[in-house]
Amino acid sequence: MFSRAALRAPRALPLRTRAPAAFALAARSVTTDAASASLSQSVPKSDDEPFQVTLSDESFETYELDPPPYTIEVTKKELKQMYYEMVAIRQMEMAADRLYKEKKIRGFCHLSTGQEAVAVGIEHAITKEDDIITAYRCHGFAMMRGGSVRSIIGELLGRREGISYGKGGSMHMFAKNFYGGNGIVGAQVPVGAGLAFAHKYSGRKNASVILYGDGASNQGQVFEAFNMAKLWNLPALFGCENNKYGMGTSAARSSALTDYYKRGQYIPGLKVNGMDVLAVKAAVKYGKEWTAADKGPMVLEYVTYRYGGHSMSDPGTTYRTREEIQRMRSTNDAIAGLKQKILDWEVSTEEELKSIDKAARSHVAEEVAAAEAMSIPDAKAEILFEDIYVPGSEPQYIRGRTVDENHYFSK
C-alpha cells in the first residue's frame, strides 16, 4: 500500500536505493503476451452472462500500490465486441495508410497499428462521462469515443463532414468527453489534469484518462501536472503509452528511468501489459475505482508496440530491426491474442470470428467509400473564417490575405 511504503522510506531518497525488499517481487517486467489470460471454469451459454477470467500474473507491475485483482469479469458479448473494435481500428488505420499512399491524406498521419488494445481496453473500463485526452496518435481513441469511421476518415481526407469539419486533420479530433488529439508533445497532460480538476470542482465522481507517449514522458509540463494532480488529489489517470520509441529514439536512449509507471515518484504507479486488452481493462477499471474513492491520481504505463513508423513518412526500420517488428507482430499481437483466447475458451467459433472480421472489414470499406464521397469544404470565406470565435461573439470582421478579402460577419 502506498501509505505504508511511503512511511518506510524517506521520499527524498532516489528510487534505486529505496527499500529493495518492497520491490523485489515487482522486479520482473510485465509480459507483452496478448494471450496470457486463462479460464478456470467453462464459459456460460448466454452471451450476456458474466464469467471470470484470470489474468497472467505477469500482467501488472506496481509502484507503491497494491496490484489490481488478477481476475476480471467479462461476457461473451463483450469479448466479441472488443475483438470487433480492435479489428475495426486496425482496418481503419490500414485504410488511412492506403489513402495516405494514394496522396489523398495530407500532412501528418500517425497510425496506431499494434496499439489497439490500449484504446479498446480503456474504453471498456470507463463510462462516456469519463474523459479521454491523448496526443496525435488519436484515431483509435476518437473511434472508441463514438466517432464514426466515416467522420474520422472524412477528417483525414479534409472533408466538410469530417469529425472536425475538415479543420483539424489527423491530430485534432474531438468528441463528447474526448478532448483530442493534441499536436504539441506533452501539452495534453496538464490540460488533462485540468479536465480532472473540473470533475473535482464540479463534484463529479468521474475520472480523466490522460495519455502520452514514452517520448512525451520527459516533458517538464508532465511533471508539473503530476505535482498539481497529487497536491489537489485530482481524479487523473495519467498513462504512458510506452511503444518503445519516441519517434526514432528508443526509450532507453531518451529516458534516464524507463520505468514510466514510477515517474510519478509520489504518485502510485501501475504498469500493465498493453497488448492484452483484458489486462488494460482491468488496470483502468482499478484506476477508476481508485479515483472514485478519492485516492487521487495514478500513473499507468501501457506496455505496447507500434508496428508502423512514427508517422507515414517514417519507414520505422532505421532505429529498430525488422526482426523485432516481426516478432511482436507474430507473437504478441493484441488481436491475434484475443482471438486465440476466444477460441480456446470456446466463446465463439472460428467461423463466427471470421464473420466478425468480415463485418469489420466491410463496415470500414463502406465508411471509407462514404468518406471519399463527402464533399470538400467550399473554398469560401464563410467557411474559412467560421469558428475562430464562438458564433455570436466574433469581432466585426477578420482580416484576409488582403484588405479586399476581409471577412465581415453578417448577422
Binding site: G183, A187, P190, V191, M228, D387
Partner: protein, 382 residues
C-alpha cells in the same frame, strides 16, 4: 523615415489595389456600425462625471470585477501564484479567499506551463477559469497553452470545443525591474487568431474589460500594468454596478482634438493625455487622444474617423518597436486612411533594447510625456 515612406506611398496610391480599398470602404463602415457584444453602449463612451462618481484605484476596480463575477457564476474561479493566502502578489485578489473560499481562489505552484494548461483543460471541460500570471513575463513559459491549447482548439475542433478562459496579469514596463520583467506582450498575443486581447488604462477600463473577458466565451488575454494598479480614477455610478461591462473592439476618445490623432493604450494613455495638454499650452494645438482599450479586435473605425478629422496620426505604445502594435496601426492607416493623412503616420514606442536597470537608461527606453510632446510638435512642424 518619411523619405522612405513617400515614394512607396505614391506607388501604392497609383495601383488598382488602392481603388478597390476605396470601393471597399463603405461596406467596412457599415459592418463596423453594427452593434457589439456585451455592449454597455453609452456608458462606455462617456467619461465618469456627475452624481455618484467615486474614486477607484485600478487595483480596486479589478478586485471588484473579480468578486462580482465570482459571485455571479459558480463556474468562475481564479487560480495563479499567490492569489489566495498572500492576497495576490500585487494585491489584486485581496480578500477573495476569505470571501469565496479555497475552492474558488486557488494558489498554484510556481509552474506556469502546468497551471496554464490545467486552467485551459478546466475551461475545455466547461468551467470559466481566470488564470492569473504574476506577470506576463512569466507567461512566456506557458504561452504554448495560451496559443495552442486555448486559442486554436475551437477552430481545430470545427467549432465543437469552446474554451472560456481569461488570462490576466500585469504586462509591460514597470520600474527598475530590468529586462526580464519589463516586456510588453500586446503584439505577441494580438497576432493570434482565436484570442481576444484587451489592455485597460483607467479603473473603468479595468473593471469593464475584465468582466467582459470573464463572460466572453472565447479565450481572452487581459494585459494590465503594474504601475497603474495604485492609480486612482473616477468611476461613474453605472460602472460601479455589477452589470457593467465594456465591449471589445471599441476604443474610447479620452480627449477630443482636431490637429493630431494620438492612438495609445494602457499606461501610455495617461502620458499622452499629459502631452496633449502641454501641446495645447505650449503650442496651441488640440490633440485627440484615443485609448484603444482593446488590442484584438482593434477599433479601426474610431482611428480612421479621427484621422479624417485631424489628418495626422501618432501611435504611442511601450512595446518593442519592431512588428509591434504601433507598426500594425501604421500599416492599417496606410490601407484605410492614406488619402486622409497630410503626413506620414508616426510612432513612439519602447526602444529596441532589453530594458536596462539603471534609472536614467531605463528612462531612455520607454515613452514619457516630454518625449511624446516633443515628437508630436516636431511631426506638426511646430
Amino acid at each position: 523615415m518619411s523619405r522612405f515612406l513617400r515614394p512607396a506611398a505614391r506607388l501604392a496610391a497609383s495601383t488598382r489595389a488602392a481603388t478597390s480599398i476605396k470601393a471597399n470602404a463603405p461596406s467596412f463602415s457599415q459592418a463596423i456600425a453594427r452593434p457589439v457584444y456585451f455592449g454597455g453602449s453609452s456608458q462606455s463612451r462617456s467619461y465618469a462625471e456627475g452624481a455618484g462618481v467615486k474614486e477607484y484605484t485600478v487595483r480596486d476596480a479589478l478586485n471588484e470585477a473579480l468578486a462580482e463575477e465570482l459571485e455571479a457564476n459558480p463556474k468562475v474561479f481564479i487560480l495563479g501564484e499567490e492569489v489566495a493566502q498572500y492576497n495576490g502578489a500585487y494585491k489584486v485578489t485581496k480578500g477573495l479567499l476569505d470571501r469565496f473560499g479555497e475552492k474558488r481562489v486557488i494558489d498554484t505552484p510556481i509552474t506556469e506551463m502546468g497551471f496554464a494548461g490545467l486552467a485551459t483543460g478546466a475551461a475545455l471541460s466547461g468551467l470559466h477559469p481566470v488564470c492569473e500570471f504574476m506577470t506576463f513575463n512569466f507567461a512566456m513559459q506557458a504561452i504554448d497553452h495560451v496559443v495552442n491549447s486555448a486559442a486554436k482548439t475551437l477552430y481545430m475542433s470545427g467549432g465543437i470545443q469552446p474554451c472560456n478562459i481569461t488570462f490576466r496579469g500585469p504586462n509591460g514596463f514597470a520600474a527598475g525591474v530590468a529586462a526580464q520583467h519589463s516586456q510588453d506582450y500586446s503584439a505577441w498575443y494580438g497576432s493570434i487568431p482565436g484570442l481576444k486581447v484587451v489592455s485597460p488604462w483607467s479603473a473603468e477600463d479595468a473593471k469593464g474589460l475584465l468582466k467582459a473577458a470573464i463572460r466572453d466565451p472565447n479565450p481572452v488575454v487581459v494585459l494590465e500594468n503594474e504601475l497603474m494598479y495604485g492609480q486612482s480614477f473616477p468611476m461613474s455610478e453605472a460602472a460601479q454596478k455589477d452589470d457593467f461591462v465594456l465591449p471589445f473592439g471599441k476604443a474610447k476618445v479620452e480627449r477630443a482634438g482636431k490637429d493630431l490623432t494620438i492612438v495609445t493604450m494602457s499606461r501610455c494613455v495617461g502620458q499622452s493625455l499629459v502631452a496633449a495638454e502641454n501641446l495645447k499650452k505650449n503650442y496651441g494645438v488640440e490633440a485627440e487622444v484615443i485609448n484603444l482599450r482593446s488590442i484584438k479586435p482593434l477599433d479601426l473605425e474610431s482611428i480612421v474617423q479621427s484621422i479624417k478629422k485631424t489628418h495626422r496620426l501618432l501611435v504611442v505604445e511601450s512595446g518593442y518597436p519592431a512588428f509591434g502594435v504601433g507598426a500594425e496601426i501604421l500599416a492599417l492607416s496606410m490601407e484605410y486612411a492614406f488619402d486622409y493623412l497630410d503626413g506620414p503616420a508616426q510612432r513612439v514606442t519602447g526602444a529596441e533594447v532589453p530594458t536596462p536597470y539603471a534609472q536614467k537608461l531605463e528612462e531612455m527606453s520607454f515613452p514619457n510625456e516630454q518625449l511624446i510632446e516633443n515628437f508630436a510638435a516636431k511631426m506638426l512642424r511646430l
